[in-house]
């Protein structure tokens, strides 16, 4: 046990690494060298390709420590990377965790962060094989690299869509945005605060939305299924919002898309948080961090896809539109056509 007031600076780098090492479960057989040497050694899975992704969470950019518990920071840093692997159709295998820690970070928070990471890693059979711990003279930085495996010709790229392919999204959108708004305003005296407190009558919904923001469930199983069975022609994940994901996939594939506004599966609570209908749709299209999958299904694969998607543990999938040869991104709403809004962009 460590006193809550003990900081990471008092413990030191080596003992922090030791704390992680004692928590890491026994290495699975493909990992020949794990934490503790200059690098990790992992045996590739027979007849597969390595899939590699890196993503970081930066304090006061991606999270505020007063709103996000430390275990959720560790969880989410891995989750966003597993989501990237899923969107390529890859099964996750190993990850590294690189931290830059403010001197005054409590060791209890460090432990919670690591526990959040390892809890999710255990759920998907991901081995923590290495990483780095440095000091930060500023915010907390968490950088994760995840490595997965995918069979040749089963890779889900973002540029594989064809005109006429149908566009699907998993789960529902807007939950993370609703969760974030509710976390930010729940204790504030303003109008939104009142709305949130009223919405809290539906307390289960509110908790579910906060959980979706804090601990998104990466769609690992769905991504692997639609890749392995060649049910999808292209795929991206919804890190920066649905509108942004549609744009990325369309631009990469050299196509346009038409989206049916009424078909977008919007989380119920979002309308109560957002106020009116236009606001709700806007938040659903532009709000980031849902970590659902957006993918295209060729018409002749539709039946295969529907059969395959039923294996994804009850996760719903919804057709929201189709890819078009003409390059515009069109949103159909109440019989009118408008341009799809821009997504969330960093540095703006």
């Amino acid at each position: 046990m460590t006193e809550p007031s003990v900081t990471v600076a008092e413990i030191g780098e080596r003992r922090l690494i030791e704390r992680i090492r004692t928590k890491v479960p026994p290495l699975p057989p493909p990992v020949l060298v794990g934490i503790g040497d200059d690098a990790a050694v992992v045996e590739p899975e027979r007849n597969t390709l390595d899939v590699i992704t890196t993503d970081s969470l930066v304090e006061d950019v991606h999270f505020r420590r007063d709103l996000v518990p430390a275990d959720a920071i560790g969880y989410k840093a891995l989750a966003v990377n597993l989501s990237d692997l899923a969107s390529m159709g890859a099964s996750p295998r190993a990850a590294t965790l690189s931290l830059a820690l403010p001197d005054r970070l409590p060791v209890a928070d460090f432990d919670d962060l690591v526990d959040g990471f390892l809890g999710l890693a255990a759920r998907y059979g991901v081995a923590l094989v290495g990483g780095n711990i440095a000091r930060s003279p500023g915010p907390l930085f968490v950088d994760v690299t995840a490595i997965g495996a995918v069979r040749p010709r089963r890779v889900l790229r973002r540029d594989g869509a064809r005109a006429g392919d149908e566009l699907f999204v998993s789960g529902s959108v807007g939950a993370a945005a609703a969760g974030l708004v509710s976390l930010m305003y729940a204790t504030s005296p303003g109008m939104r605060g009142t709305l949130i407190r009223e919405a809290a009558g539906a307390k289960g919904d509110l908790e579910a939305c906060r959980a979706r923001f804090l601990r998104p469930d990466p769609r690992v199983r769905l991504g692997v299924l639609i890749g392995r069975n060649r049910a999808a022609s292209a795929c991206v994940d919804l890190s920066d919002g649905l509108a942004d994901a549609i744009r990325q996939l369309a631009v990469a594939s050299g196509l346009g898309a038409t989206i049916e506004a009424d078909a977008v599966p919007i989380t119920g609570l979002l309308s109560r948080v957002a106020g009116d209908e236009a606001d709700t749709l806007d938040l659903a299209l532009r709000g980031g961090e849902d970590y659902e999958l957006l993918f295209t299904v060729p018409p002749k694969r539709r039946r295969l896809f529907l059969a395959v998607s039923r294996l994804a543990g009850g996760l719903p999938v919804t057709r929201i539109g189709a890819m078009t040869a003409s390059p515009g991104l069109v949103l159909r709403r109440h019989g009118r056509e408008e341009e799809l809004p821009e997504g969330f962009v960093h540095f703006r």
Copy 2:
């Protein structure tokens, strides 16, 4: 061309990624998907294991922007990772670059940083396959993950040494420490400043030491050679100093070591920077960032090793001691025995 005053915040994440993408050379054949999708896809080399390492550079912890040019930051962030791969006997193949950038960082510095990274990557055939760009509300943060390949049973671990194995170090030690000291004091009016300016009579030495601190040459060729030929039984790199590396290797192998102080190949300039002989040895043993390799050679492999090491492009190797069954770390100096000092430790 970009005006020197333009900042990364004005350019934005997407256009910064585009700037990198246009500079990256055509993908080598094993890289099936590079920058621009949710993750990279790389075909493992036949009959090899993946070797994975992560290391970061944090502003005002690992470098000061007034002392270290931006291209050296990018160079070094990759070099320290290639050094880790070399110490495992692995050939580097691919890397990811994760950046958290202060809003006011000039785009010119961003470009230089990327150029430094890509210049070293080109020299060793490393493909930049992905990464991440985020904002930083504090320091510049550079995190690199590198992936290499090594044949099974050719991995150089740190725990493979046996009692009686001879201990070797590549190149010379203390150059990075001398380079750092000279960078820090060259313009200061104090005593060290005077010494440095006198030493600058030997301007070539001074530049060489600064280069060793700013742009260390990872010992890729030597590491791969002594691993592939099984000439060495254990290996680590000198990131946190020679004394620390000896301790790490000895502890991992469950052994002790005896070091001959006179045998340690100390950079000539260090004595002029350090002042007296005791200071010089201390800086050589404790000063970090040399990124040489420390490794053990079994007596019966000595001839093989000497033949192999001649292939390492003229890089000298020096016997500095031997591993012992008794666990102490002994420094022999002027006929007396003392304990080896501690190395550099973060958070202290």
